[in-house]
């Protein structure tokens, strides 16, 4: 099941906190995190990797990144 987190307009640590909260619920095996700055993109990728998740893809459009992360 895929879950989408809209973290646009938020700066860290919020996008990371939201992502980790979702990972902790254990409901989703794929999460799409939407962020709009490079630092958040990097931080969410780093946090997901440290929890054993994999960054499956990053789509950018007009400065908005859709990060797809999957349970490893």
């Amino acid at each position: 099941m895929a879950k989408t987190i809209d973290a646009r307009g938020l700066s860290c640590p919020q996008p990371v906190l939201m992502t980790l909260d979702e990972i902790k619920t254990g409901k989703a095996d794929e999460i799409i995190v939407v962020v709009d700055n490079d630092a958040s993109k990097e931080n969410v990728s780093r946090a997901a990797s440290s929890r054993g998740w994999k960054v499956a893809g990053i789509d950018e459009k007009d400065g908005v990144f859709n990060l797809t992360i999957r349970k490893g």
Binding site: L10, S11, C12, P13, E42, V44, S45, R46
Partner: protein, 364 residues
């Protein structure tokens, strides 16, 4: 690691940037900046406030080119790597207030987290109290973050809005060039200059500016943040930013040692006092305010350089805070805390706790 193509944001990038700052800051001291103050964002913004006459503490008045460089270096990096994103609207007035109290706390301790690190690397034992206070303040902030604290979303805005702080900094540089320091004169045109004290101690303008630009550029790329270093470790056990901060301290220690600038002890340290409780609590207030505002004072300058108007408001809050800190006698000196420094720290904590407890709207 997939998802991170920016080499400076990788594990060795952040350590490299910490090492670079750890070399450059003690060198700035060697070239004229005050003791254990190669770089101090709070002190330097306070000096800028003095140069503009926002306070009239005569020994701390100088437009510090390092600060100008931090913002413009970050601006250059942001444009070069297509990361300039003009944005604002995330509770700007709250960020202003947090900036005010972050500065007041820093001036009770006598330094921001950058200087706390450099003071430790120069042998100043009082910095241990400051750094412990910083950790304590950030830890309180993380409790709020876990409880859902946030300042709300930003919105995209006009590029010109993102240019406001960079233009302000360019304006300061222009003022310095039009009204340069005149030996033996306390004023040049509209600018105030210090004839003695820390404000009279500075590396040559061009050197300060170039080093500032370089650090601004590197820090924008690496997201270097002294508050984030501790926050991310407390929140996520994430070592990434912390590794850069530790690299800075270790490198600065080595460079200070080689340059003969390492002088261990508590008493008689440059621009420092030995009132342990207030070193601890001053920096704790500062750390809490930085944590609630999402970045250390350096990071706020780098964010402002990449178009973050809210970070720019925080910077203005710090400059305003420096004005009242000296006008009201809140700032410490080498002899100890100022006459009203202690109640100011109390008010600062009350305000930060109020903000932390009340601003927890659900953003999901």
């Amino acid at each position: 690691m997939k998802g991170i193509k920016n080499i400076f944001a990788g594990p060795w990038g952040i350590v490299g940037v910490g090492i670079a700052i750890g070399i450059l800051a003690p060198l700035l001291q060697k070239l004229g900046n005050p003791g254990n103050m190669g770089v101090c964002v709070a002190c330097f913004e306070r000096d800028i406030a003095g140069a503009l006459g926002l306070h009239r503490a005569e020994i701390v008045q100088y437009i510090r080119p390092e600060i100008i460089g931090f913002v413009l270096g970050s601006l250059a990096a942001a444009y070069l790597f297509k990361e300039f994103r003009p944005r604002l609207g995330s509770a700007p007035i709250v960020r202003f207030v947090l900036g005010v109290f972050a500065m007041i706390g820093a001036l009770v301790f006598l330094g921001c987290p950058w200087r706390a690190a450099l003071r430790l690397a120069g042998g100043d034992g009082n910095a241990i109290l400051g750094l412990l206070g910083l950790i304590f303040g950030i830890w309180i902030g993380t409790l709020f973050l876990r409880g859902g604290y946030n300042l709300g979303r930003t919105q995209q805005t006009h590029a010109a809005a993102g240019w406001m702080l960079p233009l302000f900094m360019a304006g300061l540089l222009l003022l310095m060039l039009i009204f340069p320091q005149v030996t033996g004169e306390a004023k040049s045109g509209v600018l105030f200059y210090s004839m003695k004290g820390p404000g009279a101690m500075h590396a040559p303008l061009a050197v300060s500016l170039v080093v500032g630009l370089l650090i601004g550029f590197l820090a924008q790329r690496s997201r270097f943040c002294t508050m984030g270093a501790i926050r991310d470790f407390v929140l996520f056990r994430q070592m990434h930013l912390l590794s850069g901060f530790i690299a800075l301290i270790v490198t600065a220690f080595v460079v200070n040692f080689i340059a003969g600038q390492f002088k261990p002890g508590f008493a008689g340290q440059p621009v420092a006092h030995t009132m342990h409780i207030w070193n601890f609590l001053g920096m704790a207030l500062s750390g809490l305010a930085f944590c609630l505002a999402g970045g250390c004072p350096g990071r706020q300058l780098f964010l402002a350089g990449e178009g973050d108007g809210d970070a720019a408001v925080f910077v203005m809050g710090m400059i305003f805070g420096a004005g009242i800190a000296h006008n009201f006698g809140l700032a410490s000196s080498g002899t100890g805390v100022g006459p009203y420094g202690i109640p100011a720290v109390g008010i600062g904590f009350a305000v930060c706790l109020f903000i932390g407890l009340t601003m927890r709207k659900n953003i999901a």
